[in-house]
C-alpha cells in the first residue's frame, strides 16, 4: 500500500469553496453563539462550554476546502479570536485549532469525510487532538497546571461529534463547487 493511495473516489474529493460572506460570517456566528448561548440559557452558563462551535467550523472549512494552508490559517484566525474572548494568553486556542485545521484538510484528501459516520468520527478525533494540543501548549509554554479530565473530554468529544452531524448539514448549504 503506497503513501499515495487515496481511500475515496474522485467524486468524494471534490474541493469546495465559500463566498466571502460565508467565510467571514460563519466563524463569526460560531464565536457569537459560543459566547451568547450560555448566557441566553440562564442556569446553564457552563453547560454549553462543552460544545466547541468554533472547532466544528474549523473542521468543516478544513475538510471542505481540502487545502492544508487554508485550513491552518482558518484554524489560527478562529482560534485567536476565541482566545481573545477569554482571559488566557492569546494563542492557546490559536495553536490548537491551527493543528486541527491542517489535520482536517490533510485528512479530507485521503478519506471520505462526507458521510455522517465519518463526520462523527473525525469530529471526535479532532476534538481530542484539539484538547491534547491545548493541554500541551498550556503545560509546555504557558506552564499552567490544569489537570486533564479525560473522561469529561471523551464525553465532550462524543457530544461535539453528534452536534457536528447537524451543524455540518446546515453548513453544507453554503458550499460552492470549486
Amino acid at each position: 500500500m503506497s503513501a499515495g493511495v487515496i481511500y475515496t473516489s474522485r467524486e468524494e474529493i471534490e474541493v469546495y469553496r465559500f463566498n466571502y460572506a460565508a467565510t467571514f460570517f460563519i466563524p463569526l456566528a460560531a464565536l457569537l453563539l459560543q459566547s451568547y448561548l450560555p448566557v441566553a440559557f440562564h442556569g446553564r452558563l457552563y453547560f454549553f462550554d462543552v460544545f466547541d462551535l468554533p472547532l466544528l467550523v474549523t473542521i468543516f472549512f478544513g475538510v471542505a476546502r481540502r487545502n492544508p494552508v487554508a485550513g491552518s490559517i482558518t484554524g489560527a484566525v478562529i482560534g485567536l479570536a476565541q482566545d481573545a474572548m477569554t482571559h488566557n494568553y492569546l494563542g492557546l486556542f490559536g495553536i490548537a485549532k491551527t493543528f486541527v485545521g491542517y489535520g482536517a484538510s490533510s485528512l479530507a484528501t485521503k478519506i471520505d469525510v462526507e458521510n455522517l459516520g465519518s463526520r462523527f468520527l473525525i469530529t471526535v478525533g479532532f476534538y481530542l487532538l484539539h484538547r491534547i494540543a491545548y493541554l500541551l501548549v498550556q503545560h509546555g509554554m504557558v506552564q499552567q497546571n490544569a489537570p486533564a479530565n479525560w473522561l469529561h473530554s471523551l464525553g465532550a468529544a462524543l457530544a461535539n461529534g453528534l452536534l457536528a452531524i447537524v451543524v455540518f448539514a446546515i453548513l453544507d448549504k453554503f458550499k460552492q463547487r470549486g
Binding site: 474541493v15 469546495y16 469553496r17 463569526l28 464565536l31 457569537l32 459560543q34 459566547s35 451568547y36 448561548l37 450560555p38 448566557v39 441566553a40 440562564h42 442556569g43 446553564r44 452558563l45 457552563y46 454549553f48 462550554d49 462543552v50 466547541d52 476546502r65 487545502n67 490559517i73 484566525v77 485567536l80 479570536a81 476565541q82 481573545a84 474572548m85 477569554t86 482571559h87 488566557n88 492569546l90 494563542g91 492557546l92 486556542f93 491545548y134 498550556q138 499552567q144 490544569a146 489537570p147 479530565n149 470549486g178
Partner: protein
Amino acid sequence: MESFFSRYRNPMILGIVLLLQVFGLAVQVKRPIDPKHPEAGSVRMIRLWVSTVITPLERIFVGTGNFFSENWHDYVNIGGLRRENRELRQQNEQLRIGQAQLGEEAAQGRRLQALLDFKQHLVIQTVAAQVIGSSGTEQSRVLYIDRGARAGLKPDMAVITPDGIVGKVRDVFPFMAQVLVLNDSSSGVGALLEKSRLHGVVKGTSTGDLILDHVMVDEKVEPGDRIITSGGDRVYPKGLPIGTVAQVSPGSDLFLNIRLKPAADLNRLEEVLVVTQPPLSQADSETPVRAADILAQRLPGVTPKQPESAPGPAGGQGSAATIAAPNPIPPKPKVVRPPLKKTAPGNAAAVPSAGATPAVTPASATPSPAVPSPTPTPEAAKPQ
C-alpha cells in the same frame, strides 16, 4: 479552487503575510481602552477588535430577547406578572430589613470608630450591569457585562450580587467589561470564616469548584460554616458572603482541603453590581495591620483574658491569644496615628510586616473584634 489560487497566488501570499503581521502586532500592541479616558488603562488590540465586533451583536441579541421577554410578561403572561409582583414585594421587604440591619451595623461601626478616633466610610457605590456574554470555554471562566469605562468601571473592581461576590473586573472597554469569575482557576479572594474568624484564601479550580486554602489542619472547620470576604485583598469589601463550607478533608500537606458552595449562583448570573467605590477604610488599607491582630484572628477559641501588658513584636501565641480575647466593651485606646502611606493599587501586600504597625499604647492592646483593621483617614467620618 486551484485556478483561483494559481491566479491570485502572489496577492494572496502577500495578504497572508500582511495579515499575520497585523495579527502579530495586534497581539503585542496595547491601545488605550478609551482615548477620551486615558486613566481607564489599555488593552491588547486584538481583544479590542474581537470585543468590538462581538459585543454589539450580543447586545442586539440580548436586547431582542429582552424585547420579546418583556412583551410576553407585560401583555401575555399576566398571571406570571402578578406572581412576580408578589415575589418582588417580598424581596423588597427583605431588602428593607437587610438595609435596616446594615444601617444598624454601620452605626455601631461608627460608634466604635469614634471611640478609637478613626474615621471610616461605610458606603459602597455600585453600578448595576447585565451579563451579556461569556468566554464560552471551560478553560476561562469569564463573563462580559454591558457596562464599561464610560460607566466608571476600572480593572480590579469587585463584582457582586445580593447573594454574594461574583468576581472582579478584569479588562474594561468603553461600553463593556470582562469579569473574572470567582471559580476560575486564576481567581483568589481574601477570606474569613465568619464563626471562627480564621483567615484563608478562596481560590477557583480548573473544574470550576471553589476551595478555601491556607487553613491549617489543626483548625476546626465544619460543613455549613459561612465564609466572608476579609477585605485583605483590597478588591472585595470586607464582610460580603463568599459561600459556605461544603466538604472538609485533610490535605496532603499542612493545610485542610476545604471545598465551598458559592453564595452567589455563578451559573445563573443575569444582573450584577460592580463596586465602583469601596469603603474608604478599605481603600486606605495600605495602613499596616498589627501582627497581634492577625495572630488574634487566627486564635479565636482561647478564653478571653484581660491583658496585663502589651505584646512584644514577636507576638508569641500566648500573648496573642490574650489579646485576641473578644471584648464587648473595649477600653478607650490611646492611639498614636501612623503616617498615611500610599502605595500602588496593584500592590497586593495585604498584611505588611509587624514592624510597620502603628504605635499603640498598652491601653489599646485589647482590640475590639468589631473593628478588625482600624484605619486612620484624614477626613472626619461622615454618616451615609
